[in-house]
């Protein structure tokens, strides 16, 4: 239903840590071995998968909780029609795609550059690494409300203030949140997610064999050649992993939109789901939107599972 079974190539299936002979004692023993898995599986299915099924069912129903709304009824594909023909909902889908592409793209490039810098030994490297991680360790909604009120706010925000002190005319009236709401949210998300991607890429770079790089420089490769032919292929999978995981998290982002702009000209799908059911109380359309975002995520998740399984294969 709402789970993914990646059609992994046979080679990518992670091997169990024991030979198959271990399975020969079939019967009671195998159930004894499976039993510890069951509580977690059952709990997960009940709490996360059943709601998805319910959302899917509700997405085909005409169901509004407004006081004057008609009775619940079967609606067929009407809710999906509403989602794809109403400008506001179409906008939410497009905003989600735009935000995700911009944030993931910029964060990944920044993260790769910063990870390569931090891969060198220099004085205070640990301090810089700690400074880089810090944005990821601020509670997301707290970061969003402070970016929205303390940094990008018109007038008393940090950015307008600093621009004013640098002599930019009219700095006090620059209104990032209302004039460029999507850009404002994207900047905050890039600030928040670059550290996350940087950590993954740095782990990838540090797992590279230094002897290989030494051999390359002895053979007369310059820095650029070494980067393109040695480092990039090695880091590629880590880059893929950070991109797919970043995508999954940023598609789901709700806190930055709520905390910075309250959805003003910057509503993404999660925020639209929230608004549609919480304020507009249109349960059918909200569910259809939920189904749309699940389908989108499933497509991304299939890629994600491939990347993870190839990394697992390496581990074994």
């Amino acid at each position: 239903m709402a789970s993914v079974t990646a059609d992994l190539p046979a080679a990518a299936k992670p091997a169990a840590s024991r030979p198959p002979e271990a399975y020969k004692k079939w019967g009671r023993e195998s159930w004894k071995r499976r039993a510890p898995l069951l509580p977690a599986l059952v709990f997960l299915i009940v709490v996360t998968q059943l709601p998805f099924v319910a959302t899917l069912v509700m997405s085909f129903m005409s169901w509004s909780a407004q006081p004057d709304a008609p009775e619940k009824s079967f609606a067929g594909l009407d809710n999906f029609k509403t989602v794809f023909t109403t400008a506001a909902y179409r906008g939410a889908v497009l905003t989600t795609i735009e935000m995700t592409v911009v944030v993931v793209g910029v964060s990944a490039l920044l993260a790769l550059g910063i990870a390569m810098l931090l891969n060198h030994a220099f004085i205070g490297r640990g301090v810089v690494r700690t400074m880089m991680i810090a944005p990821f360790l601020i509670v997301p909604i707290a970061a969003a409300v402070f970016w929205g009120n303390g940094i990008l706010m018109t007038g008393f925000g940090l950015v307008d203030g600093v621009l004013g002190q640098l002599g930019v005319p009219g700095a006090q009236d620059i209104a990032f949140l209302t004039d460029h709401p999507k850009l404002a949210i994207e900047i905050e998300l890039i600030w928040q997610w670059t550290p996350f991607m940087m950590l993954i890429l740095l782990a990838g770079l540090q797992s590279q064999d230094p002897e290989v790089l030494e051999a390359a420089s002895i053979d007369g490769c310059n820095g650029w050649q070494t980067f393109v032919h040695m480092t990039l292929p090695h880091v590629r999978r880590y880059l893929e992993l950070s991109v797919v995981l970043g995508t999954i998290f940023i598609v789901q982002n709700f806190d930055s939109v709520l905390g910075m702009t309250g959805g003003l000209n910057s509503t993404n799908i999660p925020y639209a789901v929230y608004e549609t059911f919480y304020s507009a109380k249109d349960y059918g359309v909200a569910s259809a939107l939920g189904v749309v975002v699940v389908v989108g995520s499933l497509i991304i998740a299939t890629f994600a599972l491939r990347v993870v399984s190839s990394l697992l294969e390496e581990e074994n």
Binding site: P36, T55, L118
Partner: protein, 280 residues
């Protein structure tokens, strides 16, 4: 060494640290400014341009606890939901990870990928049925219990993946040898597996704690007053009438402190946790 090469090396020696320091400072500036703002008096915090040298005070933090609408109950709710959900996660994830890592289960990778795939689906898509269930079916709105269950499910996949990669580090040969020597399962677990897996359990706990502590969407929708958590409370500090920024900065800093502490404590395991155990 040629002249040119030597110059390039010297430039690298200066340019790389310089660039790294500048970028690091840019990334940390919003946080430092948030802390500075939280230490300024309300009328000093909202000026154009910023009053850099204004006197420092802890009054905003005091105000969070002593105002008519204090932050304390929300913080207590945050601690309760994060700690209890983390304990529940461990109770469910450790046996599952053990079954997957140490004693092979047929088609274990399918089970692993099922766990992982649930984490990849947007939580927002399940919120409406859960909201209707809590408010209309069991009629328990504004209650921390439902949040605890949701956070447990939210973190379970991460914990299973992390724990599996930690437990996989236990050499099977040791366990074989011990069981041939007639050691009981319990003894194997407490004497061999636990010492190796302990740091992993600690890191997993910290990461589950962070994610539960940060969660805001479900907390906002499913609670109103009694079960309100820290992140939801901070959102209510935004005002339009008087100078509110200093208190908002104090609230934002205060609720981020536990995450900063937990995150720096688990720094070396953070990557493994955030990449769902895919990267060591």
């Amino acid at each position: 060494m040629s002249e040119r090469n030597w110059n390039r090396q010297r430039v690298g020696k200066i340019a790389i640290p310089l660039a790294a320091w500048i970028i690091g400072l840019i990334f940390v500036t919003p946080i430092l400014y948030m802390v500075l703002t939280s230490l300024h008096a309300p009328h000093d915090a909202q000026t154009y341009p910023p009053s850099w040298g204004a006197p420092l005070t802890l009054d905003n933090y005091g105000g969070l606890f002593s105002s008519a609408n204090p932050i304390t109950p929300a913080l207590i709710n945050s601690v309760i939901t994060s700690v209890i959900s983390t304990l529940l996660v461990l109770a469910l994830a450790i046996p599952a990870a053990y079954a997957l890592a140490i004693r092979p289960v047929r088609r274990w990778s399918d089970a692993m990928f099922f766990f992982l795939s649930t984490k990849m689906l947007p939580m927002v898509a399940g919120i409406l049925p859960l909201y209707l269930f809590t408010t209309q079916v069991i009629k328990m709105p504004d209650n921390v219990i439902i949040l605890i269950l949701i956070y447990t499910a939210m973190n379970l996949p991460i914990a299973v993946w992390m724990m599996r990669s930690f437990l996989a580090e236990v050499p099977p040969a040791i366990i074989e040898a011990a069981s041939i020597d007639g050691a009981s399962t319990m003894r194997i677990l407490t004497r061999i597996v636990a010492p190796i897996a302990m740091p992993g359990v600690a890191a997993t706990s910290l990461i589950c704690f962070i994610f539960a502590w940060n969660e805001q969407l479900y907390a906002k929708v499913l609670t109103s007053v009694a079960a309100q958590t820290g992140p939801v409370f901070v959102n209510t500090l935004i005002q339009t009438e008087h100078a509110y920024l200093a208190e908002l900065a104090a609230g934002a800093t205060l609720i981020s402190l536990p995450v900063l502490i937990a995150g720096f404590a688990a720094q070396d395991k953070l990557v493994q946790g955030l990449s769902l155990g895919a990267v060591k």
